[in-house]
């Protein structure tokens, strides 16, 4: 008797492995002209895995203090064998993950996959997207370079503009009145302990919910299938869909490897609290649309502080965006047209402002 078979039988007798295999064989994924959008969620999950692995590797050498952080990243990139690769992959993968998560979110939005009963899946996904931005923001500071130092000053100052509790938020984030070594220590804690803990639990919940309800079929496809039931197509999750998903992961890995090898992530210059912000300073691309808006907003709008209005406006917009599924009252209704319109506007605004930011002086 072969060893593998024995192990399998041993496990099966104890934990009922055949149940899992049977379940995987019966799980079906709908197949239609929009099916390829399903891959972006899985790709984001894959990149999350890459982040966990490379993050653990970086932890072996990184030191979270203002006197050592920059030097330790420099050491990783110049002395440690393949250190440059691990760090570049971590940085690039973070960026790609925010991209794939955003594509995933907009595809879910426009294919109306958030409809009942999937509202909780949408909410957990939006929370995860905010966590990703939190990962990006906190991780950005860790190399303690000039760009990240000023980005953190600006970012935590924006948080401080929130009325009433803003000051507390800013002090809580900075670990004091200013961005100092205390901020670095805090951000390190958020980045490697607090956020991964919450994110792992939320990812589990998100995937569990997706599993519970199955993949959503877009309303237009659903209508066609109801009119002509013979056109309904499904594929088995295992192995058909899983193998396709694996190919998508390979594509992501290829892009990641290419970027990390040919465009290694830069380290920049070490942060100096007593130096002026360098010309051409700007945040990461995914914050650019907000950056550009804040830059264009006048200091005073009527009697209100322009900055504050901008910040509050974005906060309100995010809250509305998260709650949009609850405004959608089903197909053909006026509410649904408004929701779709809001989605087109939001996507348009983000894209136009981002592009404009890169061309504007």
């Amino acid at each position: 008797m072969d060893v593998l078979g024995t192990v399998r039988k041993w496990l099966d007798e104890r934990i009922g492995l055949h149940g899992l295999v049977e379940f995987m064989e019966h799980k079906k994924v709908p197949q239609h002209r929009y099916s390829h959008w399903y891959f972006f969620g899985g790709m984001t999950l894959f990149l999350f895995g890459v982040q966990v692995l490379t993050g653990i590797l970086l932890l072996l050498y990184y030191r979270p203090s203002p006197n050592e952080a920059y030097e330790s990243v420099e050491y990783i990139m110049t002395q440690v064998r393949f250190g440059w690769l691990i760090r570049s992959i971590h940085s690039w993968s973070a960026n790609l993950m925010i991209l794939t998560a955003s594509v995933h979110m907009f595809s879910v939005f426009f294919l109306k996959a958030y409809r009942k009963p999937r509202e909780l899946t949408w909410l957990s996904g939006m929370l995860l997207l905010f966590l990703l931005l939190g990962f990006g923001f906190s991780g950005y500071l860790l190399p303690w370079n000039t760009l990240s130092f000023f980005a953190t000053k600006v970012g935590t100052d924006i948080a401080g503009q929130v009325p009433v509790i803003g000051k507390w938020i800013s002090v809580f984030l900075r670990g004091g009145e200013d961005v100092t070594g205390a901020t670095l220590t805090r951000f390190f804690g958020f980045h490697v302990a607090v956020l991964p803990g919450i994110a792992t639990a939320l990812v589990a919940l998100h995937v569990l919910l997706v599993q519970r309800f199955g993949m959503s079929v877009p309303p237009s496809v659903e209508a066609e299938w109801e009119a002509r039931p013979s056109e309904r197509r499904e594929m088995r999750f295992f192995p058909n869909f899983l193998l396709r998903e694996l190919m998508a992961w390979y594509v992501a890995l290829a892009i990641l490897g290419g970027l990390a090898a040919f465009k290694p992530w830069e380290l920049g210059t070490k942060a100096d609290a007593f130096a002026s912000a360098p010309p051409g300073i700007r945040p990461e691309w995914y914050f650019m649309f907000m950056f550009q808006t804040l830059k264009m907003i006048p200091p005073k709008i009527w009697i209100f502080d322009g900055e504050l209005l901008g910040v509050l406006g974005f906060n309100a917009a995010f809250v509305v965006w998260v709650l949009l599924p609850f405004f959608d009252r089903g197909p053909g209704g006026r509410a649904q047209r408004w929701v779709t319109g809001a989605g087109v506007f939001a996507l348009g605004y983000v894209v136009v402002m981002t592009v404009y930011a890169y061309f504007a002086k």
Binding site: D157, W168, F274, A277, L294, E307
Partner: protein
Amino acid sequence: MSEQSLNAPGQPKRRLFVEIFLGAGVAASLASFLYPVLRYIFPPETAEATSDTVLAGRVGDLKPNTGKIFRFGSRPALLILTPDGQYSAISAVCTHLNCTVQYRSDLRSVWCACHNGMYTPDGRNISGPPPRPLDKYDVFLKGEEIYVRRQGNA
């Protein structure tokens, strides 16, 4: 029989009593865990820099129409020698979003690289997003040394 007559009418009251005390007990213990954690999260206040006067530089450090950053306590400040030979000292922390400003000789203005804010050499906000002027400090010379003092602390 007698037991029932004792309990039946009193039971809801007794339950309410237990619920209130149990609830209050749990809430009190939760509060006693949370309060120290909340206090712990916010760092102790650090004393502001005690000195209101700092040495910013020496005469000859700056050529006319240039500026340099110096430390004022824990924050950066900017000393400028204007083209007409006047010293000006202002806070270097942009009133918009906290970036550190710099003196631009080509514009004869103070400029913030983060969001393109512009100030005059004495700190007045003239264009871009800054909502307020930069804090202005008094400058005085003691021999060759340039001292800067917080205003209103003569």
